[in-house]
């Protein structure tokens, strides 16, 4: 008997004209940004699927980013978990994570729209580094907003951005993490909506960003789907990805939405546990509301105040989630669960030791979820989105895993 989740393949025509994925999404921004978003939308309609843009985008992905990224069989994890395990290696992409796909695409778009400068926000620093690199490559000045807490815990990435020529602004207001960085980037954009292009790094924010980011990141799932057919001769039983804002997850999932036989599993940051403020799992524990331009699920109190989150992973440490994920959870097409800090660090250690791959702590959440799936589904073919590499996490790992190792 097939479960309802397997039976329900999704139409892939969303969002609608108002940027809605079912009830979720939309465009909740100050009036100053409405014309800028209209121009962005018109620019997307003109350029994004135009053969000239696609040719340039794919050329950059191939010759500069290093795509297609590998699909690796993971024999040791397979043996340990009693399943077939395949890794989509976004950690091998230039600058170390999937973020570069989106950054290159949006920077190319910004040039076509005549923007004078790029601004970006960053949590773990991966989108910041990717934006700085893409802007350098295409000859545009770049300013990156980063929460002061993240500046500290992801220090290697701050220095990388500086070497790549970007100006890094540490945001000391608000929660001093990704959410505050987005607020500050929006304030910058409101001040110069005509000359500045805001390169938003995740599938969040006002329409058309969730759509744009999904389209640019779907290269992950398209490649992985073809690679699975080639390497395994079949599609996976499940594709697993970590979810913060949800850009790598939507990029991996979207090309599989119509494959009714492929389950999709998103893994959020479970942090220390279920309490408000102890995790960053907006789909698991959140309630509907409007945050940073979008109606989605958010971690908030009874008065609609958005709450601080906790995750060992800076890239997942966000109080909201992309509206398409909220929709896919409600439709039942994608399942979402969470993995705690310690489960994720264990999964990271296991992958590093037995597969010779050090995933980012963000990506390690997907490994933790995949391992749980394997326990319940022996022999399953599992595709894991290894969204980034863990080099940037050394300061955190020195204070966690390595401390335990040295004890």
């Amino acid at each position: 008997m097939s479960s309802p989740r397997r039976a329900a393949a999704e139409p892939v025509t969303l969002p609608d004209g108002k940027g809605r994925f079912g009830a979720f999404g939309g465009r909740y921004v100050p009036e100053t940004l409405v014309p800028a978003l209209d121009r962005l939308q018109a620019g997307i309609e003109t350029h994004l699927h135009h053969p000239d843009f696609q040719a340039e985008f794919l050329h950059e992905l191939k010759t500069w980013v290093g795509r297609p990224t590998a699909l690796s069989h993971a024999p040791a994890l397979a043996k340990r978990w009693g399943a077939q395990v395949w890794l989509k290696r976004e950690d091998l992409a230039h600058t170390g994570a999937h973020k570069i796909n989106n950054a290159v695409g949006q920077t190319l778009l910004a040039k076509r729209l005549g923007a004078k400068r790029i601004i970006a926000e960053t949590g773990a620093g991966q989108h910041g580094v990717a934006s700085a690199a893409a802007a350098a490559r295409l000859g545009m000045p770049c300013t990156v907003y980063m929460g002061a807490v993240d500046v500290q815990r992801q220090a290697p990435n701050v220095d990388r951005m500086k070497l790549l020529g970007a100006t890094v602004v540490a945001v000391t207001g608000g929660d001093q993490t990704l959410r505050a960085a987005i607020d500050e980037a929006l304030r910058d954009w409101v001040s110069d909506p005509d000359g500045t292009y805001y390169s938003l790094g995740s599938a969040v924010g006002p329409h058309p960003y969730p759509y744009l980011v999904r389209e640019l990141q779907s290269v992950i799932g398209r490649e992985a789907r073809a690679q699975m057919l080639e390497a395994a001769g079949r599609l996976p039983d499940v594709a697993v990805a970590c979810v913060g804002g949800g850009s790598n997850a939507i990029g991996l999932f979207h090309p599989f939405l119509a494959d009714a036989g492929v389950q999709l599993l998103g893994v959020e940051a479970g942090g220390r546990g279920a309490g408000l403020g102890d995790n960053a799992a907006s789909l698991t524990y959140g309630t509907p509301g409007v945050l940073q331009g979008s109606y989605t699920l958010i971690l908030q109190d009874a008065f609609g105040q958005v709450r601080e989150t906790h995750s060992v992973s800076a890239g997942l440490d966000y109080s909201g989630v992309g509206p398409e994920h909220a929709y896919l959870m409600h439709s039942g097409r994608v399942s979402y669960e969470s993995a705690t800090d310690s489960e994720s660090l264990d999964a990271l250690a296991e992958c590093a030791k037995y597969e010779g791959i050090l995933p980012a702590i963000e990506s390690a959440h997907a490994f933790a979820g995949a391992r749980r799936f394997a326990e319940k589904n022996p022999g399953a073919h599992i595709l894991i989105g290894c969204s980034g590499r863990g080099d940037k996490d050394m300061p955190i790992l020195q204070n966690t895993l390595l401390k335990a190792l040295h004890r």
Partner: protein, 270 residues
Amino acid sequence: MKQPRDSGPMTSPSERISAAIQAAVAKGRPALVGYLTAGFPTRRHFKDSLAAVAAVCDVVEIGVPFSDPMADGTTIQRASFAALADGVTLPWILDELKSIEPRHSAPVLLMSYLNPLLAFGIIELPRAARDAGVAGFIVPDLPFEESGDLHHALAGEGLALVQMVTPVTPPERLSMLCREAKGFVYAVTMTGTTGKSADGKFGDVPADVLEYMDRVKALSRVPVCAGFGIRSARQVARLAPHVDGVVVGSALVEALERGEDVGAFLKSLR
């Protein structure tokens, strides 16, 4: 249909806002709209601060603090975070307003980001707001296209949803927004967040801003108030021939923060 529950004149709260602004204009001066963040600097003195502002201003905007004030500059961010830390909530604000006897003659609007209103409940909000003497709302992250539900809910109690327009609003959109406006049109003086100076690089409100105010004025059936970055009597005087009123926000919040006599500060702007 609902019967008006106020025993006073048969004007809706929305019309009271327009009338208060027009009354100032009739006296030959621009209406003064004062903004204060609710419960800042302290919850305990909120009603006193409000009374001091309402005594001088023609219309009062009360800011509902929010965790993510993306349209606000540093002053109102600081005030919002302090008020939240002090436990200010929308129900508390409405309770405080409800307890004021007699009501201030200046109409009161709430300025709130959308999410605290959604958390309160769009269905419950209009009645609760009207009972607290609130005449309308300004919601800086709610563009016209998304505003239908709230607009209709508020209209059921005669409350205004004030529309913002900006210098970068394209002409057709400007006409549409002005046509639909209730209470007054909030004409933002510049691209940017609250609290910067509306002065251009030549140290005065730029001529193109005045021309834009003239365009808004020509399109609008309700009064037009200029806001964002208005801090001095000189700016007010320069804007006065082009608008029906001016909004003073960050500068007023800073005066409250310093513990100054806000009545005297507001009078100095006239």
